[in-house]
């Protein structure tokens, strides 16, 4: 329970216009599994996590984090990207 992995799969998927079905087929998992991953009910194996990142062509830390992702528009979020 302590090892929660946060992810932004749903956000990336929406942004790229990819359906759950398409992502499931690209990764070789069941359709419902994408939902489980997005809601954090399941964590991907390291290998699967890397494949997800590669699928979206982003570094793995853009998709996964040990800390909750800051909300979009949150001033704290910009401060992370551009440290004062």
């Amino acid at each position: 329970m302590s090892e929660v992995v946060y992810n932004r799969i749903a956000m990336l998927r929406a942004e790229r216009g990819v359906t759950r079905r398409q992502l499931a087929e690209a990764l070789g998992v069941h359709y419902q599994t994408i939902g489980y991953l997005e809601r954090g009910e399941f964590s991907p194996s390291l290998h699967l996590a890397l494949r997800i990142a590669r699928h979206f062509e982003v570094p793995v830390e853009v998709v996964f984090s040990a800390e909750p992702f800051p909300r979009l528009g949150d001033p704290a979020a910009t401060s992370i990207v551009r440290p004062a």
């Binding site: 329970m1 070789g28 069941h30 399941f42 964590s43 991907p44 194996s45």
Partner: protein
């Protein structure tokens, strides 16, 4: 077309290709205008075998069944059903077949029991030592789960109950070969289960050969000894659900939990992955699950593979024409 028309006249008198072969279809062709709906379909079925015919809409499933039933004339190829050519089959031959069409037959003003007793009476002259025809009407009504509705008019039944009447009409003559065109459309899960039990009973106990079409892949997997996938007028794959799944390499999904956290992984080598998982975490691993490709995954992959192959061929033909 390489069909030897000369040999056709003798087909009905010829014994089937082997002992117990009830359906023998070779190079079946059907053309509507310039459109080849069936382009060389071949398959056989044994006594007591259940075959499921799958395929996209318009693949020719219903056309195939209608040709085998003798309702539609083929353009080419050889067909033997119970040793006879459906195009020239007589009443005696027809009495040994059962047919459940895709759409309802309307007998709305008849009572269920009355209707089945009446239709059954036509089969009595074709009763044999081995197969007593027709089916006892009350036993039949029980077999299709309509006992409490036996006295009702067909028009008062629900869609699923009416479909059961269709099935009962199809089997009232105790057929040796039964054709079912989307038999469970409109069935609730319990009715579907009862229907599956009935199909198993007909195939296993009465040795009935059953050819059915369905879009319910779960149903095909449960019922069929052999699945035929029809696409582009040909059978692109056939085999048991398990055999078909081994033709296509689709990744398996592995799920497990460790320290109360749930994980998922996707791999083409599930056994090796699980071995590694236990080597690493031993007894910490719980809730292990390996989910292989479903028949739906396999079916979609096979049809897609076929369609992309066809697109490639068309593109090549186009290039050849362009080059020439």
């Amino acid at each position: 077309m390489a069909v030897t028309a000369g040999a056709d006249a003798l087909t009905a008198a010829e014994p089937p290709a082997g002992e117990g072969v009830t359906l023998d279809v070779r190079d079946l062709r059907m053309r509507y205008g310039t459109n080849d709906v069936l382009d060389g379909v071949s398959f056989t079925a044994q006594r007591g075998e259940v075959l499921a015919l799958l395929g996209p809409n318009g693949a020719g499933k219903t056309t195939t069944i209608e040709i085998l039933e003798g309702f539609r004339m083929r353009s080419g190829g050889q067909v033997a059903v119970l040793g006879a050519d459906p195009a020239t089959g007589d009443e005696r031959w027809r009495a040994r077949l059962g047919v459940v069409l895709q759409s309802w037959r309307d007998h709305s003003r008849w009572q269920v029991r009355e209707l089945l007793a009446h239709l059954g009476s036509f089969y009595a002259p074709y009763s044999t030592e081995r197969i007593r025809r027709p089916w006892d009407v009350d036993e039949l009504i029980e077999a299709v789960g309509l006992t409490v509705h036996a006295g009702k008019k067909v028009g008062q039944l629900s869609g699923g109950q009416r479909r059961r009447v269709d099935v009962a009409i199809g089997i009232v003559g105790r057929p040796e070969v039964l054709f079912l065109d989307e038999p469970t459309a409109g069935f609730d899960p319990a009715a579907r289960r009862e229907f599956h039990d009935l199909v198993h009973r007909l195939a296993d106990l009465d040795d009935t050969t059953i050819l059915l079409t369905t879009h319910d892949l779960d149903e095909a997997e449960k019922l069929a000894d052999r699945i035929l996938i029809l696409a582009g007028g040909r059978i692109i794959a056939s085999g048991s659900a398990d055999e078909l799944s081994r033709r296509i390499s689709i990744d398996a999904e592995v799920r497990w939990s460790r320290d109360g956290q749930r994980f998922v992984h996707s791999t083409s080598t599930a056994t090796a992955f699980v071995r590694e998982l236990f080597a690493q975490h031993g007894e910490d691993i719980a809730d292990l699950e390996v989910r292989r490709a479903s028949l739906e995954d396999t079916y979609m992959a096979l049809v897609r593979e076929f369609e992309s192959g066809r697109a490639d061929r068309a593109a090549r033909a186009f290039e050849e024409v362009a080059a020439g």
